[in-house]
């Protein structure tokens, strides 16, 4: 075992946020944490969705997502009574870090983890999260909650370390509320609330310090919930003053949050003192907490509404003898904590864990070792015995069955109703876990079940609509959005629906219409997460760089550490020739999220523009290392090495790599003959897309700007081997021949649609049947055959998994060429220039318009 941590404390500060901490560090008010940071690495840690503490802290302690660990919310049914109870550790399906360490003979202790009740029988001391809940006034007996301490022999000793809120004096409260004496405690219970939080945290801290002083130890997990609870109650009084905060209360309580952090720093100092200089500390929070203009003014009437106050990034700091000093760590998620601790103790990481070890934080980096799973490794792991560990939901079903069979008395109706509500919420959280881990298909049936059972529950429908949208089920998305808008006036005007509608339209390559809804959402609620990001994407897609820049600046005002917003800003600046800004912002993006090939790519492009060719080559190299199929980055590298850095062998390598390994998308323009395919080819060429043509068919009066065809297409049913040369280019293939395209490529098809009368009229004119045209003889048989041809081609397109299609209406292109050009550019996604595309659309080509339709 190559162990890098002699002893380690995993310290959880629920909801701790760097935005609060940094000013306190700078002003010397958190000296212990400052020492910890200076002696280690620190960074942001990304939370998980849904951001509900029992789920998150169990993910931290297991390295697994909630669908695996089984903790799905704050409450669960009691398997024995069917009543609702706080979520318990017996519902956890997998081993926690302390179980794994215990079975590897690493002396481990646990204090206050959420959930951790009833106490697990590990070979150490285990104090559950029910330890310090006062159930009576200070002068009355205060028995311990049953099974909150293991081993039982320590119950009396540890019970004495509980602090009752009633014990605390003004001396404890004055640092939080200097003017506490002014408060009428009959009317305002805030002081009692502060005392309760202080007492609970102090109790758990006292138990932890007692363990450090009196027990052999190598690992201690201590969880403190108080920063989160202080924040939910008092963040609205934290400076700067919120507009609607009561001025008197603001003056009274404006110090509470900072005082809570300072108190945690004092407790940390004591832990550091007791643990000694050779201890490693892992300090983590499960999410942040909005402390600025992002604080919500009001919360909806949802069970998990307080989670809306949570910010997406928490704190992460690892400090100790073997850890790098005073450096930043990037890309941390809650799922990485357990793998990292295993690695520090020289133990392999489970392949069934969803996180990764931060091996890079060690002074001496060594490879991470793996094991298939710790779940199947036998040993004294201190988990509850099998009969105690059970699925409360299955137990509830079993209980209901016994009621139905008449073996036990019917549950109280209120209990049943409460149990059903909790069950639904738990299923909802499970669906959100699937959504957030890109398992949308697994989320959909759950959300459909919930939405069918409670169609008036807005959040169920909203998530279902988002899920459908991610699966490109546009009709279903629209159906749900329309239904949600009919719920009531409040729901109808929900900016989330405008956001969703805009998102749908954007995914349908309709950026202008998308913007109408997104701007509406922006006017209603400027702080909706992701809104400005989407607006920025729409502007980028329409090459409106200036407005894109503004959108990303707004996104960064909401979250200054959003790597994708920095990247968007870099791209917008790059396209406006603001190269220094582009470089700074791209560096910010990769600083926050190193695994970000797009940001490395644009960094390379910006560096190239400033003549910094060496660094540009490095940035492009990182891009291709992270995304080997990045054709354009290889092309840049080939150019750089050949023309700027005089390294022809490297240039040749990248050229060969592209030729041999990268199959780009082939852009197909299709439709019936005379449906506008040539015009589309001309648009694409004008926009900057390379065209596959042999130029054999020359322009004529029917197509004065040329056909842009390749003669080999006519024989594609006999030989399609040459199609591979169309990679990254546009190729015209009429509808009946689509089916002969080789299956081994990805295609994006722009399928032209035009009124069949116009198509036939144009065809007749082209082949010289002018008489038929002028006499308006309509060839019914021909029309029927062409209609069937088109239907057959569309059916083929729908059946191909490697084909994306965009249907382009010829009339729309003539009527609103810029909008359509933007839509097409967005579909192509290759930075086509819509303005130049428009130049290829000439109204005078629209000479075959059906007179009847005008």
């Amino acid at each position: 075992m190559n162990r890098k941590a002699k002893k380690l404390i995993l310290l959880g500060w629920d909801a701790a946020d760097w935005k609060i901490i940094h000013p306190l560090l700078d002003s010397g008010q958190m000296p212990a944490l400052k020492r910890l940071i200076e002696n280690g690495v620190m960074g942001n840690i990304a939370t998980l969705d849904p951001p509900l503490s029992p789920m998150l802290w169990t993910s931290i302690a297991t390295g697994k997502t909630a669908d695996k660990h089984g903790i799905l919310g704050f409450a669960e049914p009691d398997p024995n009574t069917g009543k609702v109870r706080p979520v318990s550790v017996t519902s956890r399906n997998v081993k926690a870090i302390w179980n794994i360490l215990a079975q590897n003979n690493i002396k481990s202790h646990v204090v206050g983890w959420w959930p951790s009740h009833p106490a697990e029988p590990i070979d150490g001391v285990y104090v559950s999260n029910q330890f310090a809940k006062p159930r009576a006034s200070v002068n009355e007996p205060w028995p311990l909650t049953e099974n909150c301490i293991h081993p039982k022999s320590l119950e009396d000793t540890l019970a004495q370390l509980r602090v009752h809120p009633g014990e605390l004096s003004f001396a404890h409260l004055i640092p939080f509320v200097p003017e506490a004496i002014k408060i009428d405690q009959e009317k305002d219970k805030s002081l009692a609330s502060i005392a309760a939080l202080l007492a609970n945290g102090s109790s758990l801290h006292a138990a932890a310090t007692w363990i450090l002083q009196n027990q052999e130890w190598e690992f201690l997990a201590l969880y403190l919930n108080e920063i989160d609870l202080f924040s939910h109650t008092f963040m609205r009084f934290h400076p700067p003053k919120m507009e609607d905060a009561n001025a008197e209360q603001y003056e009274l309580y404006k110090n509470v949050i900072n005082s809570a952090y300072r108190f945690h720093d004092m407790m940390l100092e004591r832990l550091m003192e007791l643990a000694g200089p050779d201890a490693t500390f892992v300090l983590v929070s499960d999410h942040g907490f909005h402390s600025d203009h992002l604080r919500p003014r009001a919360l909806p009437d949802d069970p998990a509404a307080p989670a809306l106050e949570h910010a997406p990034y928490g704190i992460f700091c690892v400090s100790g003898p073997a850890i790098k000093k005073d450096e930043r760590v990037f890309g941390a998620t809650l799922l990485n904590i357990t793998p990292t601790i295993l690695h520090l103790f020289g133990l392999p990481v489970g392949r069934d864990m969803d996180g990764q070890a931060h091996a890079e934080i060690l002074e001496e980096i060594r490879p991470v070792e793996f094991i298939d799973s710790w779940e199947s490794i036998a040993g004294s792991d201190g988990q509850h015995a099998g009969e105690l560990r059970e699925d409360p939901w299955a137990a509830q079903e079993a209980l209901k069955q016994l009621v139905d069979l008449g073996y036990i008395e019917a549950l109280d109706e209120n209990d049943t109703e409460a149990g059903e509500r909790v069950r639904r919420e738990s299923r909802f959280y499970l669906a959100r876990v699937f959504l957030s881990t890109r398992r949308v298909e697994q989320a959909v049936p759950i959300l459909e079940e919930l939405y069918a059972a409670a169609p008036d529950t807005f959040r169920y429908g909203l998530r279902l609509a988002f899920a459908y949208q991610q699966l490109n089920r546009t009709a279903d998305t629209r159906r749900i959005v329309d239904a949600l808008r009919k719920l009531d006036r409040q729901a109808r005007n929900m900016p989330q629906l405008d956001f969703l509608e805009g998102s749908i339209l954007f995914s349908e390559n309709k950026p202008r219409r998308a913007l109408e809804f997104l701007r509406k959402a922006e006017n209603s609620v400027a702080h909706l997460p992701g809104l400005h990001m989407l607006i920025g994407q729409v502007y980028i897609a329409t090459r409106n760089w200036h407005d894109a820049e503004r959108a990303y600046i707004r996104a960064l005002a909401i979250d200054s550490e959003n790597a994708r917003a920095h990247h968007g800003l870099a791209l917008a600046a790059l396209r406006q020739d603001k190269f220094e800004i582009a470089i700074d912002e791209a560096l910010n993006a990769v600083g926050l999220l190193f695994q970000f090939p797009g940001a490395h790519y644009h960094l390379g492009e910006a560096l190239y523009k400033t003549g910094d060719y060496e660094r540009a080559a490095h940035a492009f190299s990182v891009c291709v290392a992270q995304m080997p199929g990045a054709r354009r980055a290889h092309t840049w590298l080939a150019d750089l090495y050949k023309n700027k850095l005089n390294q022809p062998e490297k240039a040749a390598y990248h050229q060969t790599f592209v030729a041999q390994n990268i199959r780009g998308t082939i852009y197909i323009v299709s439709g019936l003959p005379r449906s506008g395919t040539s015009m589309m080819m001309q648009m694409l060429r004008a926009g900057g897309l390379e065209i596959m043509t042999d130029n054999l068919r020359v322009k004529d009066e029917n197509n004065p700007h040329g056909y842009l065809e390749d003669d080999r297409v006519k024989r594609i049913h006999q030989d399609n081997s040459w199609v591979k040369n169309a990679s990254g280019k546009a190729l015209k293939v009429v509808a009946p021949l689509l089916q002969f395209l080789p299956q081994t490529f990805r295609y994006k098809i722009m399928y032209m649609q035009r009124d069949l009368n116009e198509v036939i009229s144009s065809q007749q004119k082209m082949i010289g049947q002018q008489k038929a045209v002028t006499q308006k003889v309509f060839p019914v048989t021909m029309a029927d055959a062409m209609h069937k041809q088109s239907e057959k081609a569309i059916a083929w397109i729908k059946a191909q998994p490697h084909v994306e299609v965009m249907y382009v209406n010829y009339t729309d292109v003539i009527a609103s060429p810029l909008e359509q050009a933007e839509n097409i550019a967005l579909f192509i996604n290759d930075e086509l220039d819509p303005v130049k595309m428009v130049e290829a659309v000439q109204e005078n080509l629209y000479r075959n318009r059906n007179q009847q339709t005008n």
């Binding site: 602090v163 801290h205 108190f263």
Partner: protein
């Protein structure tokens, strides 16, 4: 494998702390030791200053 018996902090040199009768955040932050010292001080004070019984209510 390290020897966990070396990790106990019980042999840290004792420190002297100011223990105000009304308690302090500093004492709470010291954990078990601070808490127990504060309670001891409080108990000692109470033993020296037992609460006086309330005077009987005047008879009407």
């Amino acid at each position: 494998m390290s020897d966990p018996s070396n990790n106990k902090a019980e042999n840290l040199p004792p420190k002297t702390y100011e223990v105000p009768l009304e308690g302090s955040l500093g004492l709470l932050a010291l954990g078990a030791e601070g808490l127990l010292q504060w309670r001891k001080k409080r108990a000692e004070w109470l033993s020296q200053n037992p609460p006086k019984p309330l005077p009987d209510e005047p008879k009407s």
